[in-house]
Structures are given as C-alpha cells and as structure tokens.
C-alpha cells in the first residue's frame, strides 16, 4: 500500500456526554476504538495514516472529566482538564507549583488551550523512526532502527532501554511523580487507581505501549495528595527551542526541609528513558542531607549512575546530572 500523509482516513465519531457512555463505547468497540482528548497527538497519528482507528470516541463533551476539585485529601484533576487550566489554577500555583510550572512548559499557548493533562501524560513517544511509520518493535515489528550503530538518536534514551530506546515526551509526567499523584482508570464498569509512577510502562514490560492503558481503558482522574502541599518545588525543562519542543531532559523535584537539612525529597526526570524516571536512590540519599552544593553534586552523580548513552546522546548524561544538581541546589 503506497504511503500518503496529511489526510485523515475516515472513522466513526462518537461524542458521549457522560463517563458512563464513554466507558461503554470504549468497552463496546475495544481495540477498534480510540479515545480522543485534546487530539494533538492523536491527529498526528491519524494524519500520518499510521494509526487508523475505526471508531473515535471524542471525550471533549464529557464535562465530568473536566475541572479541578479541591478535597481534604488534596486535588482531583479531571483527565480532560486543559493544560491552561492546570497552569492557571490558584491552588495548583500556590500549593503544587511544580505541576502548574510543568504545564506552562508544554508546547505553545494554543496547545495548552486544547491539550489536556490526561492526554499529556498518555501521549505516545516522539521517536522519529517510530513516527515515520517504520516497522519497529513498538510498531509491532522486529527492529529498533534508533539503536542501530549508525542511527540518529540524539533525542533518545540513556537508561531503561529494552530493545526500544524511545523516550517519554510528557512535560507534566515528572511533576506528577514528584507529587506522588495517583491516577484513576475506568474500564467498562470497573475503576482502578494506579500510582503515577506505575502508570508508565517501559518496553521491557510492554514494548508497544507507554502507559498501563489497554483497549477499553479510560483515564478519568489525576489525584494530587495533599502530602506535598506547599513544599519547596523545582521544575526545569531543557529544550532546543523556546516553544513547541519536547524536553531533551526535564526534572521535577519536591522537597521538605528543616533547619538546613532535607527531610524528604521527590525527584523525577523525563527525556532520559522510555518512561519518566523516579530517582528513588537519590531521594533516600537526600533524606537528612544538609542542603548545599556538596549534596547537590553528589545527588547529580548518583542520578546518572548506570546511564548507558547511545552514539549521539552522550550529552544527556551530564545534562541530567546538572539538572538534578540544580534541583537540589534550589533547596536553600
């Protein structure tokens, strides 16, 4: 079949107005169905005619999935809440700034107006071999074109690879990890909750998916526990351009301190692995450490232990190391 791009193939469109109806449609059509949120990643796939769902379930009309609710336990953010809403929400800005900050770093204003938090953390990788429609492992084939000796892999991963070396492109994902967020997944009639860290799946586990979402699943809610409210936060994204770009490396951190010491810390990095990486060992090492440059340097070094760069992305090792340093340095 000859290749042609930029014309979406035909599909059936359903526009449910309730989560029940949406879940039912997803259940009904299973593997044929595609849940459409902001549509930015989805329409790329459709216009490339690489992913061709028979049925598209447009969630934009499901008001239950929108908006941010403040509860005693923290914040409940509907999966369809736009990134602009996340970026501007007062409680988020005051108590969980790392997430608002991360949202502000996504692409462009228009994309933040359309794009949703759920979509941002569920989007597919940007590996340019995979996106070219090549039959790589992730596409159900038997090759990783990006890790071949002569391949161009400047933006690929330095850890967590397993045959596939793509990276997770989400800007908000590391922030959710740093906040111990919990997401809710609706599947037919059933609901289950998953820790943000476990929401993301590496290629060793399933090389064809970035998240736990399988056909019939619907991401409905992101819960931000109050545990980290008002902590010291740090978010940084390094990208080639000032806008409309994915992170080369991004870091999100949450810290509680007392008297010049770090009580507890959360550190997550994205752009370095096929999934956002939570730096557990560094977090443990930081617990009780004195704030300052020395601790920052040690944390940076520890963060990149075991990194295995590809031919063109060796720079990501010092970059990740330095960004972790800066995150820890910011505590003071």
């Amino acid at each position: 079949m000859a290749t042609i791009r930029d014309m979406m193939p035909a599909f059936e469109l359903f526009q449910p107005t309730s989560v029940d109806a949406a879940a039912e449609l997803m259940d009904e059509h299973g593997g044929d169905a595609w849940a459409l949120a902001g549509g930015l990643d989805s329409m790329d796939w459709f216009k490339d005619r690489i992913k061709r769902p028979r049925v598209v379930v447009d969630l934009s009309g499901v008001s239950e999935l929108r908006g941010i609710r403040e509860t005693a336990q923290g914040l409940d953010i509907g999966a369809l809440t736009t990134l602009t809403e996340v970026e501007r929400h007062d409680a988020l800005r005051s108590d969980y700034a790392v997430l608002a900050d991360a949202a502000r770093h996504v692409a462009t204003p228009q994309i933040r107006n359309q794009g949703t938090l759920g979509g941002n953390i569920s989007q597919d990788t940007r590996c340019w071999y995979y996106r070219s429609g090549w039959p790589c492992y992730r596409a159900g084939g038997n090759t990783c074109y990006a890790s071949a000796p002569q391949a161009m892999n400047r933006e690929h991963c330095i850890m967590g690879a397993s045959r596939c070396v793509a990276v997770n492109p989400s800007d908000t994902a590391p922030a959710l990890l740093a906040l111990d967020a919990v997401v809710t997944v609706r599947s037919g009639g059933r609901e289950r909750t998953v820790d943000a860290e476990d929401y993301f799946v590496g290629p060793a586990m399933d090389i064809t998916r970035m998240t736990v979402l399988r056909p019939r699943d619907l991401l409905t809610k992101v819960h931000i526990p109050s545990a980290w409210a008002g902590a010291h936060f740090h978010y940084e994204k390094v990208q080639d351009r000032g806008s409309w770009d994915f992170a080369l490396v991004s870091v999100a951190g949450a810290f509680r301190t007392t008297g010049g010491r770090i009580q507890e810390a959360r550190l997550a990095v994205n752009g370095v692995a096929p999934y956002p990486v939570r730096l557990h060992r560094v977090e443990q090492a930081l617990a009780g450490a004195v704030t300052g440059e020395e601790t920052a340097l040690a944390a940076g070094e520890m963060a990149v232990e075991g990194a295995r760069p590809l031919r063109h992305n060796g720079y990501k090792v010092p970059l990740m190391r330095n960004l972790v340093r800066r995150a820890v340095r910011s505590v003071a």
């Binding site: 930029d6 979406m8 193939p9 035909a10 599909f11 059936e12 469109l13 359903f14 526009q15 449910p16 107005t17 309730s18 029940d20 109806a21 039912e24 449609l25 009904e28 459409l36 549509g39 930015l40 329409m43 790329d44 459709f46 216009k47 598209v56 447009d58 934009s60 009309g61 602009t84 692409a107 462009t108 204003p109 228009q110 994309i111 107006n113 359309q114 000032g242 806008s243 409309w244």
Partner: protein
Amino acid sequence: MDEVVVTRTLERSVSRRTFIKGVIAAGAATSSAGYLLRGSTGLFAATAMQGTAERLITLNVNGQQRRVDVLPNETLAMTLRYKLGLTGTKLGCDRAECGACTVLVDGVSQYACSTLTHQVRGRAVTTVEGLEDRQSGALHPVQQAVLDEGGFQCAFCAPGFIMSMVALVDANPAPTREAAAHALSGNLCRCGDYDKILNCAMRAAELARRV
C-alpha cells in the same frame, strides 16, 4: 455506518441527550452524494462510509449560524476554508505547529487544523474575517495596531498571529513585551518579523485599552 449500532451502544444507561449526540456525530460520518461532483465545496464529500442519518450541523462562526455538511474526520480549518469560504484561516503545516490556522473558540485560541469541526458544535468560533466591526466595518484594535506598525512581511502567518494577539489583549490588557512574546509563541513567522510583531502586540494592547 448505521444508526442502529449507535442506538444499541448508547441507549442503555445513557441519557437521551447523549444518545442524540451519538446519532448526530455518527450520522455525520455519511457521504453527501450531492457534493460528489462539486469539487470546490465537496472537499470532504464521499468517504468510504454510507448511510442516511442526519449530516448537517449548525456552526456559530463570526456571530452567524452556518449550516454545513461535516464529516467526522473533518478539521475546523478545512470546514472554514473549503466549506464556508473563510480562507483567511491559513494552513501552514496542518500539524498544530505553525499557528497560521489559529482561531478563537469561545474566545480561546486554538489550532483549527487540529480541532475536529464536530468538537466546536454549539461554541462560538471567531476567525480573522470576524474581527472588523460588523456595523462600521472599522478594523479591530489589533488590526489597527498592525496597520499602524506596518506589521508582517509575507503575512501568511498574519491571520494566525492576529488571532493570538486578540486572545492576548482580551486576557491581559497591559502585557509586558515578554508576556506578549509568550502569548505569541504558538505562532511561527519565517520572515523573522518578530520584533515588529511584538511592537504590534504592544500597540494593540494600548489601542484595546482605549476602547
């Protein structure tokens, strides 16, 4: 596709409203034989799908109610340009990257190339053609500002930038130059007229404050 499927899908446990929406959306999947031989308007006519469910929907564009035949996989940019003749909205990349297709949906800037037309049913769409004052025909303050500052070169990006500027001055009457730059960072100008474009944005905010 046929209505029956939709009905069966949604009837159970689902509100009447949802059910109807489903039908409309599904119905819009059908081809419109009437358009088959009218290339200029039938851009999206005739796809693989057949059926006889309702296909016309009403869009609110620039304050007018427009009845239009829309397919499920049709983007707002295509509907505006090829069905409603509003060619001011440009297709620079069709991939939500360049901003030439920027329009306002309920006053919020969006990429029309990456919005399904069915997603804006019942919402107010504003394009560059809708900015001038309908009575006096006077230019919108943003357009006036661009005229005063002699903004843009090839201007293929201009309609998109102008819509982003409108969104900016509506949201922030007194932006700093930096805030303006961030507000316009979703639009690309290959002529590199950014300095002048920022002058336009600052002037636009000034004019908007006066009215």
